[in-house]
């Protein structure tokens, strides 16, 4: 109260009209110094993290699987893997060898799902694998812009792909729901016009009936600096019949309710390592490492959303300076990235707990996180990590 009173006196018109008397008097000195001290104090506090209520949770390695060198060769694991707990299998796409594959999470044996080529039973450049059930997959081949229907070990049909419907597929996460492949896309016309109020970030591809619908809303906290990277990673939750989604450089978790046919912002929790984008991207940084670095160090990138028991896990990555300084081929630069996330309790996304991961997150297998944590090693390995519940 005293400081408020002093401050009020300082701003009193009487004092303002007699500046010399005010400053030279002892009381005046005190009054003039106090607000300055308050200002300095508030400035010094501004840079500090005062979020004492932040909860954290630890992870621990509980196992892993090494890819069998005798099987088909894989080079790197990416996001968007589909996991079957009952078959102990992971399915995904290796962008380095350009293969869709299956991997036994028990034995480490890997097998390509289809031979190379542009024929009816072949894949040219698969990028997105969606599991319909344990015997059926839908694999999007971007080179052919076709969706391959894969059943009982072979491709049985192909359908027109996403690009033919005027949306731009951008990420690795795709889910099957009632005849649709759902994934995050760029809605080019509206995004390029920066009309985020009308842009739709989710594509529902009815591949058999050759129809695509765009759904969902943009996040209220998405940066409106530019049209760069305005698409989400997604996760389909069958229990809640909901698509959870998160824009690549954003922190607000969104939901699209498949029964209500409506989108909403669920929670805007911002974890401590999250970098809020402040740089506007104009044109392309192609070939300009410094520009890429400036942007890369200014943003966080959402990687995955997944379910562990009755909890939802959201993972981001931050690139480090070393990533841009090391010119060697470092396998997506994983060793120079910080991986971190937030664990929420379902159904209301309460009790956020922050965590860091020792490597890239690839999915959930029997409530364990699949993580690449052995960068630089000769063998390709997936480690299993669990949260340490206290």
């Amino acid at each position: 109260m005293a400081t408020v009173a002093s401050h009020a006196r300082c701003l009193h018109p009487k004092n303002l009209t007699k500046p010399m008397n005010y400053i030279t008097s002892k009381k005046g000195v005190l009054i003039s110094v106090l607000p300055l001290c308050l200002l300095l104090f508030s400035c010094s506090q501004a840079g500090k993290d005062n979020r004492q209520g932040v909860k954290t949770i630890e992870v621990e390695r509980t196992g892993g699987v090494t890819v069998d060198p005798e099987g088909d060769q894989l080079a790197e694991f990416f996001e968007g893997m589909a996991i079957s707990d009952s078959l102990d299998m992971a399915y995904g796409v290796d962008l380095r060898v350009r293969k869709a594959f299956q991997l036994s999470l028990e034995t480490g044996e890997a097998r390509y799902l289809a031979p190379d080529g542009r024929g009816p039973k072949e894949l040219s450049n698969p990028v997105l694998l969606t599991m319909k059930n344990e015997n059926e997959f839908l694999i999007y081949d971007v080179a052919l812009d076709q969706v391959a229907e894969y059943r009982d070990g072979e491709i049985v049909n192909k359908y027109p792909g996403f690009t033919s419907y005027g949306v731009w597929i951008r990420n690795f996460n795709g889910f099957y729901y009632n005849g649709f492949i759902i994934t995050g896309v760029v809605d080019p016309e509206n995004v390029r016009a920066m009309d985020f109020d009308n842009a739709k970030p989710l594509a529902f591809l009815d591949f058999k009936n050759e129809n695509l619908e765009k759904k969902g809303d943009f996040s209220p906290t998405i940066d409106r600096l530019d049209s760069d990277s305005k698409y989400p990673v997604i996760y389909y939750d069958s229990e809640y019949n909901t698509i959870f989604y998160l824009f690549i450089n954003d922190h607000t978790l969104m939901a699209y309710d498949l029964e209500q046919d409506e989108a909403s912002a669920l929670v805007s929790y911002k974890p401590k390592p999250f970098r809020t984008k402040t740089i506007s991207v104009q044109g392309s940084t192609a070939g300009n490492m410094n520009a890429a670095m400036e942007l890369g160090l200014n943003i966080s990138t959402a990687l995955e959303i997944d379910r562990i028991g009755n909890q939802l896990v959201v993972v981001w990555k931050n690139n480090n300076e070393e990533y841009y300084e090391d010119a060697s081929d470092v396998g997506s630069g994983n060793m120079y990235m910080d991986f971190y996330g937030v664990l929420y309790d379902l159904p209301d996304l309460t009790n956020p707990r922050e965590f860091t991961l020792p490597g890239k997150f690839h999915g959930v297998y029997k409530n364990k996180m699949l993580i690449t944590d052995n960068y630089g090693a000769e063998e390709l390995q997936l480690s299993f990590y669990e949260f340490v519940q206290k």
């Binding site: 962008l95 380095r96 450049n125 990028v127 971007v142 080179a143 052919l144 812009d145 690009t163 731009w168 597929i169 951008r170 760029v186 080019p188 995004v191 390029r192 049209s227 760069d228 990277s229 991207v281 044109g283 392309s284 940084t285 192609a286 070939g287 490492m289 520009a291 890429a292 942007l295 890369g296 943003i299 990138t301 690139n319 841009y324 081929d329 470092v330 997506s332 630069g333």
Partner: protein, 84 residues
């Protein structure tokens, strides 16, 4: 005098040829070498391209993103492939 002018013109022509050469991008593709103007690389973001493929992707924060496209449309997950 004529000799001096000839040298000057030759120098200008050589400098111009070098400048044009430096503006070219030569990219290996499955079909051989693709030669494009460097300036076209600026189109390799979420921007329209002047020719097929019409949809290109470049991760502006990650030069090593395996999904990055060049104008040839090959080897990138988000490109359409040029019409045959």
């Amino acid at each position: 005098m004529i000799e001096k002018n000839r040298k000057t013109i030759l120098g200008i022509v050589a400098a111009a040829a070098f400048a044009v050469f430096m503006m070219l991008n030569v990219t290996p593709t499955e079909d051989g070498l693709a030669v494009t103007l460097c300036g076209e690389a600026a189109l390799a973001s979420d921007l329209p391209c002047q020719e097929e493929p019409s949809v290109l992707y470049y991760n502006n924060s990650d030069v090593r993103d395996l999904r990055n496209c060049d104008l040839s449309g090959h080897g990138c997950i988000t490109c359409t492939v040029p019409a045959p």
